[in-house]
């Protein structure tokens, strides 16, 4: 156990957790602030130990299509990148979803739009949770706030992807990717055997072997609209199942809260400092930290909002998750956003100031603007 406790960056934790999960293949392309994932894997040489394939691709377009090819053979495969690279992957991600392939995609977000900045951001929330690529699909989106969660969400992401046959994404920000923390790595698991893959993934393209007489075809193409509609209905049923079973969030100090902060990823931890400072002054603030951004914890937020006077959404962006928070509470309580952009991470004082400005110092009967 003690051997498994390490001090490392979030990006390194992703790489180490992937090896220990028994991941079969990683395909990626360097981009700041996530290059340590590929660098760590190349340095670890897992092909010598677990047999995991690691390949630096020629682009993110190639990476995601390698993931597509590997996933189609039933293997546990992944890629990681940061915002501009993940934009390039959107076609491939849509194909993965449409072909019902399990895979893990990691986005360590940096500030955009465009080439933007290499500094942290959460401005790909819309892209990750609302589609990003073409067509009606969803990704399971996990938002880690600690290096420990970076490690833990690798296995969670893979397990959910295989359970529902749909790609999942770890949507991290540059803060969790780059910061170093203590992390307990999971025990090494063996990679699945060919036999296990055949059993778990009877759809996998493994060569028409072991007595299988019908060929397996992995495709997203269906020219018959009636059949394509049926396929879409099947995808939607899967999404409804995921929404029913897989919502995850963390609630802190919500029982007695007069005000609620909703924040995900690294900024949620900074918000906790602001919340504790507020509580020292006698102002009761609570926190909901969505862990799954899709499926989004609408019910939990609606429940927590019942007795509060206002909700502050703190995001490292111009206000994206706030749309889902507003959907959760309708007009029952005022919802405000506070965020910084361009790679600037808000500090606890700014967050507390925003709480004061928007709610605490506002007379209860002030007109809503």
């Amino acid at each position: 156990m003690k051997d498994n406790v390490k001090l490392m960056k979030g990006n390194e934790a992703i790489a180490m957790a992937a090896i220990r999960y028994g991941c079969d293949g990683y395909f990626g392309y360097p981009i700041t602030p996530q290059s340590e994932v590929l660098e760590t894997l190349e340095a670890q040489m897992p092909w010598e130990t677990t047999g995991m394939v690691v390949l630096q691709a020629e682009s993110e377009v190639a990476s995601i299509n390698m993931v597509y090819g590997g996933a189609a053979t039933g293997k546990a495969v992944m890629t990681s990148s940061s915002s501009p690279g993940v934009s390039l992957m959107q076609e491939g991600i849509s194909y993965l979803a449409a072909s019902e392939l399990p895979a893990l995609i990691v986005n360590v977000m940096r500030g955009g739009p465009g080439l933007g900045t290499i500094h942290p951001s959460q401005s790909d929330y819309f892209q990750a949770t609302k589609g990003g690529g073409h067509g009606d699909y969803h990704l399971i989106v996990l938002a880690p706030s600690t290096v420990q969660e970076m490690a833990d969400f690798v296995s969670l992401g893979f397990d959910l992807a295989f359970k529902y046959r749909t790609p999942s994404m770890i949507l991290a920000d540059g803060v969790v990717g780059q910061m170093m923390e203590k992390v307990v790595l999971p025990e090494q698991r063996p990679r699945r055997t060919e036999e296990e893959i055949r059993r778990q993934c009877p759809w996998a393209v493994t060569g028409k072997d072991h007595g299988r007489t019908k060929r397996n075809i992995v495709t997203s193409l269906e020219l018959d609209s009636a059949v394509m509609e049926k396929n879409n209905e099947r995808f939607q049923r899967t999404y409804r199942e995921i929404e029913k079973n897989e919502v995850r969030y963390e609630a802190r100090y919500t029982e007695d809260a007069d005000y609620l902060v909703v924040a995900f990823g690294s900024i949620a931890r900074i918000c906790m400092k602001a919340i504790e400072d507020a509580r020292k002054e006698g102002v009761k603030v609570g926190l909901i930290r969505p862990i799954t951004l899709w499926p989004f914890p609408y019910d939990a937020i609606r429940e927590a909002a019942k007795n509060v006077k206002g909700i502050l959404c703190v995001e490292i962006n111009a206000g994206q998750m706030i749309e889902d928070v507003r959907l959760a509470v309708s007009d029952s309580v005022p919802v405000r956003h506070f965020g910084r952009m361009g790679g600037i991470v808000p500090n606890p004082n700014e967050i507390l100031d925003a709480l004061r400005r928007d709610f605490i110092d506002k007379p209860a009967n002030a007109k809503e603007d």
């Binding site: 390949l55 190639a62 597509y68 090819g69 053979t73 493994t206 060569g207 060929r215």
Partner: protein
């Protein structure tokens, strides 16, 4: 002689390859895709690769190759087949992975994936049907369209000053250290079909023996895109395509890849 007397096993001179199944083929009359499908099926069958072969289908007229050739298939996004093949092959080293692509799929949108799979020397077979046109989308210009050829997007004929020059992909990939075998074939005569089949066999053998990337270009016809009868298409191909795309082996390092670049000196 009655019908029954004729239809006897001993009189049989030709049969459909076992791995080409009953599905109704959507190819136009005179299209080369059908012939190359047949060859791929025969080669897989004759080399005993039915349980090992993984095909990667393109986006183009042969997108439905998986409906005709009875082996496992993955259908790729437009141009990305070599990336899929890279992963499928590396993760399943005991399998034999091949891509089947058109000239637009491979040489335009998929040029990067092609070059990098070839330069990495992936142990795969890449088959490109070069009909010098985007057949599927209605006959637009492809990178391989020859100068003067009329297409939907070069209605007065391709001009080098406007559209650049035809891309001779086989010659490009032959320059890469990762390719072990590069050949240009056709399937318009019985003799050509036999040669093309041998080329495919050699390519699949290279993949099994892990000698690097084999690249088989088949110069083919697109009677619909070219707006010619099947017969005239063959003639047009012989007169115009073969001049730009001469047939024959371009590269064959029978022994497999060798390190040709110079490594960093140890200090």
């Amino acid at each position: 002689m009655t019908r029954e007397e004729i239809i006897r096993p001993e009189n049989k001179v030709y049969s459909r390859p076992r791995l080409i199944d009953d599905n109704y083929m959507h190819y136009c009359p005179g299209c080369s895709h059908g012939v190359v499908h047949k060859l791929v099926a025969e080669v897989i069958e004759e080399m005993g690769l039915e349980e090992k072969a993984i095909g990667i289908a393109p986006v183009g007229c042969s997108v439905f190759a998986y409906n005709y050739i009875d082996c496992d298939w993955i259908e790729a996004a437009h141009g990305r087949a070599p990336a899929l093949a890279t992963a499928a092959s590396r993760l399943n080293p005991d399998k034999v992975v091949f891509t089947y692509q058109g000239d637009g799929d491979l040489a335009a949108i998929g040029s990067a994936e092609t070059i990098h799979a070839c330069t990495r020397g992936e142990n795969i077979v890449i088959i490109m049907i070069n009909n010098g046109i985007y057949g599927m989308t209605g006959g637009q210009m492809s990178p391989c369209t020859i100068l003067g050829a009329k297409t939907a997007t070069s209605p007065y004929g391709r001009r080098s000053d406007l559209n650049g020059f035809p891309l001779k992909v086989s010659n490009v990939v032959a320059l890469l250290d990762g390719t072990c075998y590069v050949t240009r074939q056709a399937v318009h005569t019985v003799q050509a079909v036999r040669k093309a089949k041998n080329a495919l066999k050699k390519a699949f053998k290279n993949a099994i023996e892990k000698k690097g990337t084999s690249f088989v270009e088949v110069v083919g016809t697109c009677s619909s895109g070219w707006k010619l009868t099947p017969e005239k298409s063959n003639k047009w191909m012989e007169e115009n395509m073969f001049v730009n795309y001469p047939l024959g082996d371009i590269k064959d390092t029978a022994a497999g890849l060798e390190e040709k670049t110079v490594e960093v000196k140890k200090s």
